[in-house]
């Protein structure tokens, strides 16, 4: 029973801490650009403001436009239940949940693209088409890297992979999964719309992907989309942190142990975010036509990490 509460707590934590990570990324970028950056509650305040605002909705839109934010947010909340954070299990984890995870993200993306097309604006259509063409490459790569990790762990659930890796020596894990790590890192950039792929801070029509799809939204819907996006970001960071550095999980069941495990998790995530922020600050945005190259590299890396295990054996 106690572990159930831990799992529930980690689910809620991921959802609530998501805006904080967004703040942290902004802060890092600001630091690299010699700016002060926002205060820690800025992102929360923004969300709150959006929730209270009135919505302006195009008359030509159908029910899809209304449903999409809820579907997206719901899918992401569901996906969050599959991620172990401080315990070695997750709320709804089961064997093979990695595949479900990929398709939950896909479901959200599908509805988002439909909604973007629904209003009939040019930007929406453009964003949807870009998102779809990128995800057609990103999704197989994500799936393939999960397969690669699962092949090594003999288990295709996220929690199973993590608990298996936690048993092995860290160097061995890093050696065999480094390619998959590279692949997942690239996919993280794509899925969270970070700089070599997409720039969340701009509304420049030539480059934007995600922002173009959310352009017609306002008020509560926009808040849901933004929040969902932030949760997605923390999910990927948590995946990277816990899959490849599965240390400090499975705390002793007292308050002290849980707190320590939680702090260690936050440390890992903040450090990863620092790395990502550093990469973001030091690269230029790719031209849209070059992004498939990057994704192909992710795909090859994921394949290599699977093939490497076939060739080298265990």
């Amino acid at each position: 029973m106690k572990t159930f509460y831990i799992w529930l707590a980690q689910w809620l934590l991921l959802i609530l801490l998501a805006p904080l990570i967004t703040w942290w990324m902004r802060k890092i970028k600001a630091a690299f650009e010699n700016r002060v950056g926002p205060n820690p509650f800025q992102v929360y305040c923004d969300l709150l403001k959006l929730f209270r605002k009135e919505m302006v909705i195009s008359k030509t839109s159908s029910w899809i436009f209304h449903a999409a934010p809820y579907v997206l947010f719901g899918a992401i909340l569901f996906a969050t239940t599959l991620i172990p954070v401080i315990g070695s299990g997750s709320l709804l984890g089961f064997v093979g949940d990695a595949i479900l995870f990929v398709y939950l993200l896909g479901l959200g993306r599908f509805f988002m693209s439909l909604a973007a097309l629904d209003t009939g604006t040019t930007f929406g259509g453009m964003g949807a088409s870009r998102e779809m063409s990128l995800s057609s490459l990103a999704e197989p790569a994500l799936l393939l890297s999960f397969f690669a990790l699962g092949y090594r762990a003999h288990n295709l659930s996220l929690q199973g992979i993590m608990s298996q890796f936690a048993l092995e020596s860290p160097i061995q894990v890093l050696f065999f999964t480094s390619f998959a790590f590279g692949a997942l890192l690239i996919i993280t950039f794509v899925e969270t719309g970070r700089i070599p792929v997409d720039n969340p801070a701009t509304h420049l029509e030539l480059t934007m992907i995600h922002e173009a799809m959310a352009l017609e939204y306002s008020g509560r819907y926009l808040a849901l989309l933004e929040w969902g996006h932030q949760i997605k970001q923390i999910i990927f960071l948590a995946l990277l942190a816990n899959l490849f550095f599965p240390w400090g999980l499975e705390p002793s069941p007292n308050l002290f142990g849980i707190a320590g495990s939680f702090l260690f998790f936050m440390l890992k995530i903040f450090f990863l975010a620092l790395v990502i922020g550093w990469i973001e600050a030091h690269t230029a945005k790719l031209r849209l036509f070059r992004v498939p190259d990057l994704l192909a590299i992710a795909f090859v890396l994921a394949a290599l990490s699977l093939l490497g295990q076939l060739i080298i054996g265990r």
Binding site: P292, D293, A296, F299, L304, G308, I312, G313
Partner: protein, 218 residues
């Protein structure tokens, strides 16, 4: 060095070999392609030498040295010389763009794993190398069919030959020395003759893109 260590080292080199093959497909510049080919041949020579050392087969070590000399030094240098003489600066042009050919390449590797599993070739040196060799062969074909420049076609051919060599080394500890030497001789002569023809193509077609070759039909 103990046998266990060498055995795992050979396998690790095999993985690097696969990465080098991917490099040939991924690199947008001809010069980079050739460097990757040299790396590929170098790894091939190392694998051959180690397999020979591990199993006490002296002629494999000799073949490794020959590979090292011929394929990592002579042939790449000939290629670079041709590039300099022809003044090729442009990128590798391809019928299929690079991301797609990479994905195709990944599929080819999986295909070769599947096919060799079906063939039940239980190799003597190591099972994992047979699909690797087949994959290299298929990569060579991919490069040959998808690239436009005459020179990259030759490169694809050489890559295919590397795959066959790897196949022979790991499946049967190399063909008889007489045969292997003959094959080496053929490869060298073939590369030289193709190089000369590339010069002639350049002279006649103003460029070495093979998609200009459409005179003969029917």
């Amino acid at each position: 060095m103990d046998a266990e260590f060498i055995f795992s080292l050979i396998h690790f080199l095999g993985l690097l070999l696969l990465i080098a093959s991917f490099g040939i497909i991924a690199s947008p510049q001809l010069a980079a392609c050739i460097r990757f080919y040299a790396v590929h041949a170098f790894l091939l020579a190392l694998i051959t030498g180690l397999v020979g050392y591990l199993n006490h087969i002296p002629h494999l070590v000799a073949l490794a040295l020959l590979t090292l000399l011929l394929k990592t030094v002579v042939i790449p240098q000939v290629f670079f010389w041709i590039i300099r003489r022809l003044g090729i600066r442009k990128e590798v042009e391809s019928y299929i763009n690079i991301p797609f050919s990479l994905i195709l390449a990944v599929l080819l590797v999986f295909l070769s794993f599947y096919v060799t599993e079906k063939m039940r070739l239980t190799s003597i040196a190591s099972r994992e190398f047979v699909p690797l060799a087949v994959a290299t062969l298929l990569f060579g074909m991919l490069v040959m069919t998808s690239r436009k420049k005459a020179l990259t076609q030759v490169l694809g051919l050489l890559l295919m030959e590397n795959g066959l060599f790897l196949m022979a080394v790991t499946l049967t500890f190399g063909m008889p020395l007489l045969v292997e030497l003959g094959i080496f001789f053929d490869v060298l002569v073939g590369a030289v003759i193709m190089g000369i023809l590339v010069f002639k193509i350049r002279g006649a077609f103003e460029g070495i893109d093979v998609d200009q070759m459409t005179v003969l039909k029917g």
